[in-house]
C-alpha cells in the first residue's frame, strides 16, 4: 500500500513542501495543510560513511520528489541498484521515513490509480511502467 505524507501548500504560489512548514519558504504567507502520496522519483542519494553521532554507518540518505512536487528527505536500507530518476515508495517506521524500491505489484497499483486520474497520459505511462516492470526491480 502507498502511504500519504503530511505536507503544506502556499496559498499564494502553490508551492508544496513536506513535512509541513508554517510559512512558505518564498513568501511570508502561512501555508495550508496538504497530503501527498508516498511515492516519487529519486532526485539524488548518497551513502554517508562517517555519519553524525546517533546514526549507524553507512547511512543511506535520499532526496525524493514526491508526486505533487514536494522534495522529501528520507533514509533507505540500501542503495544498491538505485538510480537517479528511479521511482521509490516512502513509508514511515517509528516516525522516520524510509524509501524502498517499488515492487511490480506496487507499480501496477500506482499505474491504475494514475490512469484513472489522467486518462490522456495513459499511453505514455503504459510504456513507462511496462518498461520499468520489464527491467525488473534492480532498475528500481
Amino acid at each position: 500500500m502507498i502511504e500519504t505524507i503530511a505536507a503544506s501548500r502556499c496559498p499564494r504560489c502553490d508551492e508544496i513542501v513536506a513535512p509541513p512548514a508554517t510559512y512558505c519558504p518564498r513568501h511570508p504567507v502561512r501555508m495550508v495543510p496538504a497530503r501527498l502520496p508516498g511515492v516519487g522519483e529519486v532526485v539524488s542519494f548518497t551513502t554517508l560513511h562517517s555519519p553524525p553521532e546517533g546514526f549507524k554507518s553507512p547511512l543511506n540518505l535520499a532526496l525524493v520528489e514526491l508526486e505533487g512536487g514536494a522534495r522529501f528527505f528520507c533514509h533507505g536500507s540500501q542503495t544498491r541498484g538505485l538510480k537517479v530518476g528511479a521511482t521509490v515508495a516512502i513509508e514511515a517506521i517509528d516516525d522516520v521515513y524510509y524509501f524502498s524500491h517499488l515492487g511490480a505489484l506496487d507499480r501496477a497499483r500506482l499505474f491504475w490509480r494514475r490512469a484513472g486520474r489522467a486518462g490522456d497520459r495513459v499511453n505514455a505511462m503504459t510504456r513507462s511502467v511496462v518498461k520499468r516492470m520489464w527491467k525488473g526491480t534492480s532498475s528500481g
Binding site: 513542501v17 519558504p25 532526485v43 539524488s44 554517508l48 562517517s50 540518505l61 514536494a70 528527505f73 533514509h75
Partner: protein
C-alpha cells in the same frame, strides 16, 4: 556611492595553530593595518562563525577589539555561516560607500582543530536545516547528494572533480600560507577514503585554523572594490527546485556584476569556494565564467590552472589553502589583492580584474566580490 579601495591586507599561515583565536586575528589585523600605514581605523568589522562553541568566548567583536588594543574603535560582528568573512567585507564596504567612515578594518578568523573532528562537523552542520539534520544530513552528505545529481543530470565525471583537487593542491604547494603544501595525484584523489558517496576525502576541504584581514578606505589605492553582490536561498535543500546549481551564487554574481558595470568576460582570475571539489565546477557555471556544461572539460584541459586561460584558486582554494570558516571570504580577497599588486611570489598571475566567491551554509548565503586594479 563613494568608491571603496583596499589599503592593506594580511593573513596568518592557515593550518593547525596553537595560538588563541584572538591572537590569530590580531596577527592578521596588525599586518593589514601596517600595510595600510594606519594605527587606528575609524571602525572595525569582525567575522567569526561560532566562537561561542569553538573556543567558548562570546561578545566577540569587543573581545577581538580589546585584545588588540582597539577597544575604542566602534566594532561590530557579522555572521552568515561559512561566508561570514565576505559578509564582513560588505559590512565595511557600505560604511565607506555611504560616506559614513573613511577607513574600516575587516578581520575574520576561526579556530577549530583543537576539537575532535566529529564535534567540529556537528558544529558546522548546525547551519543545515534542522529537519534534514534529524536525518543525519551533514555538509558532506548534502554535497554528496548534489554531486551525484551533477553526475546523473549534467554528465559531470569523477575524474573532472578529482582534477579540481589536483590543481588546487598544486597551487597550494606554491603558497607559503597554505594548509597543504603537498601535491596530490588524480589516482590518490580517486582512491581516497569514501566520505559521502560519490565524494571522497580528497574532494573535501580540511578543517583549519587561521585569520585574514583587510583595510578598506575612501582614499585611492592600487585596488578598488568594483562590486559586491549578495545572494540567498532556502535553508532546506529539499525546498529548492534545482540541486545542480546554486541560486545564491547566481544572484550574488548578478548583483556584483551589475554594481561593477561589467560582465564575467572581464574577469582574469578567481578564488572560488571549493569546500567540495564539485562546488568549484558549479560556481564556474553559476557565475557565468564558463558556459553551462563546460566547467569539467576546461578543468581537465588545464584552463583553470595557474598557467591556464582562467586561473581558478591560485591560493590553493579551500581545498589546499584551507578553510578557517569566517577567515575564508577575507583570505580569498587577500589572495586577489596580492595577485593584483604583484605580491604573489611563486604563483604570480597577470590581469586586472579578480573575483572572489564565498558560500555560506549549504549555499544559503553567498557572496561575490569583484576587485579591479587601478
Amino acid at each position: 556611492m563613494n568608491d571603496v579601495w583596499i589599503a592593506g591586507v594580511g593573513m596568518t599561515r592557515i593550518g593547525r595553530r596553537s595560538e588563541l583565536l584572538q591572537d590569530l586575528m590580531a596577527e592578521a589585523a596588525l599586518t593589514a593595518l601596517g600595510a595600510a600605514g594606519l594605527e587606528q581605523p575609524d571602525a572595525m568589522v569582525v567575522a567569526t562563525m561560532n566562537p561561542e562553541e569553538f573556543v567558548g568566548d562570546g561578545n566577540f567583536a569587543s573581545s577581538v577589539a580589546s585584545y588588540l588594543g582597539l577597544s575604542e574603535v566602534p566594532t561590530l560582528r557579522v555572521e552568515t555561516a561559512t561566508s561570514s568573512g565576505a559578509a564582513a567585507v560588505y559590512a565595511g564596504f557600505v560604511q565607506i560607500a555611504a560616506g559614513h567612515r573613511r577607513s574600516v578594518l575587516v578581520v575574520g578568523g576561526e579556530k577549530m582543530t583543537h576539537l575532535p573532528t566529529p564535534k567540529v562537523s556537528e558544529l558546522i552542520g548546525r547551519s543545515i536545516d534542522a529537519y534534514e539534520r534529524s536525518y543525519g544530513a551533514t555538509m558532506p552528505a548534502l554535497a554528496g547528494l548534489i554531486t551525484r545529481a551533477l553526475i546523473a543530470r549534467q554528465g559531470m565525471t569523477l575524474r573532472e572533480m578529482a582534477q579540481v583537487a589536483v590543481k588546487n593542491h598544486a597551487h597550494g604547494a606554491r603558497n607559503p600560507y597554505a594548509h597543504f603544501r603537498d601535491p596530490v595525484t588524480l589516482d590518490e584523489v580517486l582512491n581516497s577514503r569514501m566520505v559521502a558517496d560519490p565524494l571522497r576525502l580528497l574532494h573535501c576541504c580540511p578543517i583549519s585554523d587561521g585569520a585574514a584581514a583587510l583595510v578598506l578606505t575612501a582614499e585611492r589605492t592600487g585596488v578598488r572594490v568594483a562590486g559586491i553582490g549578495h545572494g540567498t536561498d532556502t535553508l532546506a535543500v529539499r525546498h529548492r527546485h534545482d540541486l545542480v546549481s546554486f541560486r545564491a551564487t547566481q544572484a550574488a554574481a548578478q548583483a556584483a556584476f551589475a554594481m561593477a558595470g561589467f560582465g564575467p568576460e572581464r574577469v582574469d582570475f578567481a578564488e572560488l569556494h571549493d569546500a567540495f571539489a564539485s562546488f568549484e565546477l558549479i560556481a564556474l557555471e553559476d557565475i557565468g565564467l564558463v558556459p553551462p556544461g563546460k566547467a569539467g572539460h576546461i578543468t581537465l584541459d588545464g584552463e583553470t590552472a595557474l598557467d591556464g586561460r582562467l586561473p581558478i584558486n591560485p591560493s590553493g582554494g579551500l581545498k589546499a589553502r584551507g578553510h578557517p570558516l569566517a577567515a575564508t571570504g577575507i583570505a580569498q580577497i587577500v589572495e586577489c589583492v596580492w595577485q593584483l599588486s604583484g605580491q604573489a611570489e611563486g604563483r604570480q598571475l597577470g590581469g586586472r580584474v579578480a573575483l572572489a566567491h564565498s558560500i555560506g551554509g549549504l549555499a544559503t548565503n553567498n557572496w561575490v566580490t569583484l576587485l579591479e586594479s587601478a
